[in-house]
């Protein structure tokens, strides 16, 4: 697989003509957005002044119209960016991987992961599905939300998960369910109370204490089979998952259910979206696309999912 520096090269060399063109579009677009923004603000101000009241209504209309206008203005640019930057980037890593800019991982798989509570709304984009070294893998940007009703009877939405969601074949046979979550209780409440809280988590299976102190500090493991959890999480895999976590630099949720490994990396924002107010040629902007893609497609190699055991051949 290509390294990050090779991908960065690809981004700045092969994609340079495309980026230059997109950069022109981006500058025009940001001007247009600012103009539309000023126009809407003036209209809203005049409306509020002449109506002498209905401020709530004016504010609501201002936000709604602004949002629609922003989306509308961005639509073509976003599509152009995904097709001429993200797609070639994916294909430069592996030409056989199909990419779709509008679809996402199915709700069925999201719920099968058992990582999060079931969402009321699931949206996402940038879906990649294919085979790497004979291992089925798929990932996409995902945003899962839950609906709540506040005291006034109004609907509000809260985010369950937003980030990168990866599903791949796992190289060992197992029948139970093992869930690995970021360790929040133990780091907030200390070891003793944290562990007591974890072992009394009614929503989860039995707590599994792992024999790798560093892993145990970062993650908490629940499973319905104490032995199988350790069969899956060998010392080698624990180390690799730790490395993966450090590399991603974001909270990582992992589960082993059925024949799959599910990984959810919480970025709390929409990924692979074009930047509007910052240059596409900026190193930081470029690295975010490159690094996230490298992390997702690199899972097979990183976790050595392609080294199958005898029983799975």
């Amino acid at each position: 697989m290509k390294s990050i520096s090779e991908l960065t090269d690809f981004y700045y060399k092969t994609l340079y003509p495309t980026l230059e063109k997109l950069e022109k579009d981006r500058k025009n677009l940001s001007h247009r957005i600012i103009m539309v923004g000023i126009f809407l603000t003036v209209v809203a101000g005049v409306a509020a002044y002449s109506l002498q009241g209905f401020y709530e209504f004016v504010l609501f209309a201002y936000i709604a119209l602004g949002g629609i206008a922003y989306k509308f203005l961005l639509h073509d640019y976003t599509h152009e960016f995904k097709m001429s930057v993200i797609k070639p980037l994916v294909h430069s890593i592996d030409a056989s991987l199909p990419y779709s800019s509008t679809t996402h991982i199915s709700e069925y798989l999201f719920e099968a992961s058992k990582l999060f509570s079931s969402p009321d709304k699931l949206s996402g984009n940038d879906y990649v599905k294919g085979q790497i070294d004979g291992i089925n893998i798929q990932f996409s940007d995902l945003h899962a939300q839950k609906k709540h009703q506040n005291s006034k009877g109004k609907d509000t939405w809260s985010t369950i998960f937003q980030g990168l969601f990866i599903v791949a074949d796992f190289n060992k046979h197992f029948s139970g369910e093992t869930i690995v979550l970021p360790d929040s209780a133990q780091s907030t409440f200390g070891e003793l109370i944290g562990q007591w809280l974890q072992s009394n988590n009614a929503a989860r299976d039995e707590l599994v204490k792992m024999d790798d102190p560093e892993f145990e500090k970062e993650f908490v493991v629940y499973s319905n089979d104490q032995i199988e959890a350790r069969y899956i999480l060998s010392h080698a895999l624990m180390k690799k998952l730790l490395d993966f976590k450090h590399k991603s630099a974001h909270p990582v949720y992992i589960s082993f259910v059925g024949t799959h490994i599910y990984m959810a990396i919480s970025y709390d924002k929409d990924l692979f979206e074009p930047s509007v107010f910052r240059s596409l040629l900026e190193y930081k902007v470029a690295m975010e696309y490159v690094k996230t893609l490298h992390l997702a497609i690199g899972v097979v190699e990183e976790l050595k999912l392609n080294q199958k055991l005898w029983s799975k051949r």
Partner: protein, 184 residues
């Protein structure tokens, strides 16, 4: 009057909880040891097959094969204590490891489909054993902690609970195998 009653009730509740948690921990150890036993048996079942497949070629390692066979027959005897089983497991692990290293020296064996299959199956079983051992060690550590820590330690001594042994990895196993020494 009522306060003393409440104190007594709370005290009784604490004692019951302590007692139950100790029994729970002891049963967890036994429960997981049963699973350890199952995977160990799985490996013992592979030994006759392995010995039969390699003995034709391995002239120089006859003693090693005999030792493994002997260990197997000892380990499959009924009514062994847990500690004895743990000790035997360590010996079998190191003996099988030596055989696997020795196989590397015989190209005919290395290419043999049957041996290759056995090797992979053995490797898989070793992984299961390792997982079971780690689960057992954690259960024993929880149990040992409970019987040595205050306040459950008083309860444990009343119940005549003693420390249990964990699977220790042999020191010789941790060191790299000296291949030269094996064939000298």
């Amino acid at each position: 009057m009522s306060t003393s009653l409440i104190i007594l009730a709370v005290l009784a509740l604490v004692l019951v909880l302590m007692y139950n948690s100790l029994v729970g921990k002891k049963n967890q150890v036994e429960n997981i040891f049963a699973s350890v036993d199952t995977v160990l048996k799985k490996r013992y079942d592979l030994i006759p097959n392995l010995v039969a497949s390699v003995s034709k070629y391995m002239e120089h390692e006859k003693s090693l094969l005999e030792e493994v066979t002997k260990l197997r027959s000892e380990a499959t005897k009924p009514n062994l204590s847990d500690a004895h089983k743990i000790a035997l497991d360590a010996k079998v692990t190191s003996a099988l490891g030596s055989i696997m290293v020795a196989v590397e020296a015989y190209p005919e064996l290395k290419a043999n489909e049957n041996v290759m299959h056995l090797q992979h199956t053995l490797h898989e079983v070793e992984e299961q054993i390792s997982a079971a051992r780690r689960a057992y060690n954690q259960a024993v550590t929880d149990y040992n902690n409970a019987i040595e820590m205050i306040p459950t330690s008083f309860m444990a001594s009343l119940m005549h609970y003693g420390r249990k042994q964990v699977f220790e990895i042999d020191v010789s196993e941790r060191q790299n195998v000296n291949v030269k020494e094996l064939f000298s």
